[in-house]
């Protein structure tokens, strides 16, 4: 179970992982065996402390794995994101008996967890959830519909957010009776991530599976999970950006046009350089944000938002530039660059669209300004 960072990175880059990952992305689904292999490699318990059977890695170590994996399989990386978010919710906000009960299974990957926050009418505005969690006689009845839930088709347990009498709440709900799970229409990016539309119809779950007290699910649990998710998605965006730069550079080095190597043309070098600079800048920011989240720095959420915005820009520019360097070859359906470009578009949206995160960062700047101005009055 316990794996070293170097071992895992070796496994991802060599052996048959790149080929298998390619197959999942082409087939449009990470299969159960793929998930099993990821679990066997210890990938589902990276962020879980050793005392619960996890690898106990620090977040700056974990982002290395997410960056590398996303270059090959953005879809499998997205499974690690949602599973890690649920682990984080239980670890930070769950009661000690709940941690003992579920973390070992989540860390071993014998149970796969999905993060059920998004609703059709409530995307980034997490305070307007319509799903309800009604507690009575030691049970919580969950009613509502969750959309675009990554790996919802494969998950054994969902962390469902909704409103209760005590405010925004969340609870683990085992997959099974009282719910209808249907696949979402195919998406262009992260197409193998088994997105599901899930309807809960007074689905019962044990009150012992509540994570955090009523009123803490939203905002506290949801926000701290989203902060982690943003850092991990940003790491993935950097991985995809770097993969695009590598593809474009290899092509520019070999391809001759009119007797001149593409790489000898200054405009082509400029495209490569700009993409690479943005990707490396984003990576530095992702690592810094990971440190802040690890240390529970109060500025972690803003740092995660900043890093995700830059990483989304970097991946957008890098895949766009790479596509111009590769020309028609890179536009073919099934070409690796096409899949990287599709993932790049997805990264503009998931875990908070750029505009929402820019608003978060801008609001933080204005708050600081106001605090500085008011400081003199105190």
């Amino acid at each position: 179970m316990s794996a070293s960072v170097v071992d895992v990175l070796k496994w991802l880059r060599h052996g048959d992982f790149p080929d298998r990952a390619d197959h999942w992305e082409q087939a449009g689904a990470v299969d159960a065996q793929g998930v099993r292999e990821a679990a066997d490699a210890g990938l589902l318990g990276l962020t879980v402390p050793r005392r619960y059977g996890g690898d106990g890695w620090s977040l700056p170590e974990v982002v290395e794995v997410h960056r590398t994996m996303a270059g090959f399989s953005p879809s499998l990386q997205s499974l690690l994101v949602v599973h890690s978010m649920v682990c984080q919710a239980v670890l930070r906000w769950g009661r000690s008996d709940l941690r003992e009960l579920v973390l070992p299974e989540l860390a071993a990957g014998t149970k796969i967890a999905a993060f059920a926050l998004t609703e059709a009418e409530s995307g980034s505005d997490i305070r307007s959830l319509r799903t309800t969690l009604a507690e009575r006689d030691g049970e919580i009845l969950v009613t509502g519909r969750k959309r675009w839930i990554s790996f919802g088709e494969l998950a054994d347990v969902f962390l469902v957010f909704g409103m209760s009498d005590g405010g925004g709440s969340c609870a683990l709900v085992p997959a099974g009776a009282g719910q209808r799970v249907s696949p979402e229409p195919p998406t262009t990016g992260l197409r193998a991530s088994r997105l599901a539309d899930i309807e809960f119809d007074a689905t019962p779950t044990s009150a012992n599976l509540a994570v955090g007290r009523p009123g803490f699910g939203v905002p506290h649990v949801a926000t701290s999970c989203l902060t982690l998710g943003r850092v991990l998605v940003a790491a993935a965006a950097v991985g995809v950006a770097q993969a695009a730069v590598e593809l474009a550079t290899a092509h520019a080095a070999q391809r001759q046009v009119g007797g001149v190597a593409l790489g000898d043309r200054q405009l082509v070098r400029g495209l490569l350089a700009e993409a690479s600079i943005l990707a490396e800048a984003a990576w530095a920011m992702v690592r810094a944000a990971a440190e802040r989240v690890e240390e529970r720095d109060p500025e972690a959420a803003t740092a995660a938002g900043r890093a995700k915005v830059l990483a989304a820009r970097a991946v957008s520019v890098a895949t766009d530039h790479a596509s111009r360097v590769l020309g028609a070859a890179g536009l073919a359906e099934g070409h690796r660059l096409t899949r990287l470009s599709q993932a790049a578009r997805t990264y503009q949206v998931i875990e908070g669209p750029n505009e929402v995160l820019l608003d978060l960062v801008g609001a933080d700047l204005l708050r600081r300004e106001a605090a500085t101005r008011q400081g003199g009055d105190r």
């Binding site: 905002p219 926000t223 240390e295 500025e299 204005l366 106001a370 400081g375």
Partner: protein, 89 residues
């Protein structure tokens, strides 16, 4: 932890918590009993920042039993929580 400071009195805790929350809200005055979360005075990010702030600044660990909204919803509630954890009177 790097941000941990030696705090000796209830009043000092109150002062530090108050300063931090004033900064988060961007105002110069705030009633100690003003409901920050339930009245949406602070956004969801700031709600987490308050938890991170008291944990780091006062070297305490917020446990499940501390997760009562009353402990996090007001400056006075936060102060009481920290003081209780540090056994200040």
């Amino acid at each position: 932890m790097s941000g941990t400071k030696q705090v000796v009195s209830y009043d000092e805790v109150h002062q530090q918590v108050r300063e931090y929350v004033l900064g988060l809200v961007g105002v110069s005055e705030l009633d100690g009993d003003r409901e920050l979360i339930t009245e949406h005075v602070v956004d969801s990010v700031a709600a987490i920042q308050m938890v991170d702030f008291v944990e780091r600044t006062f070297g305490i660990e917020v446990e499940d039993e501390d997760l009562e909204l009353a402990n996090f919803n007001t400056v006075n509630g936060l102060t009481r929580l920290v003081a209780e954890k540090l056994r200040l009177s």
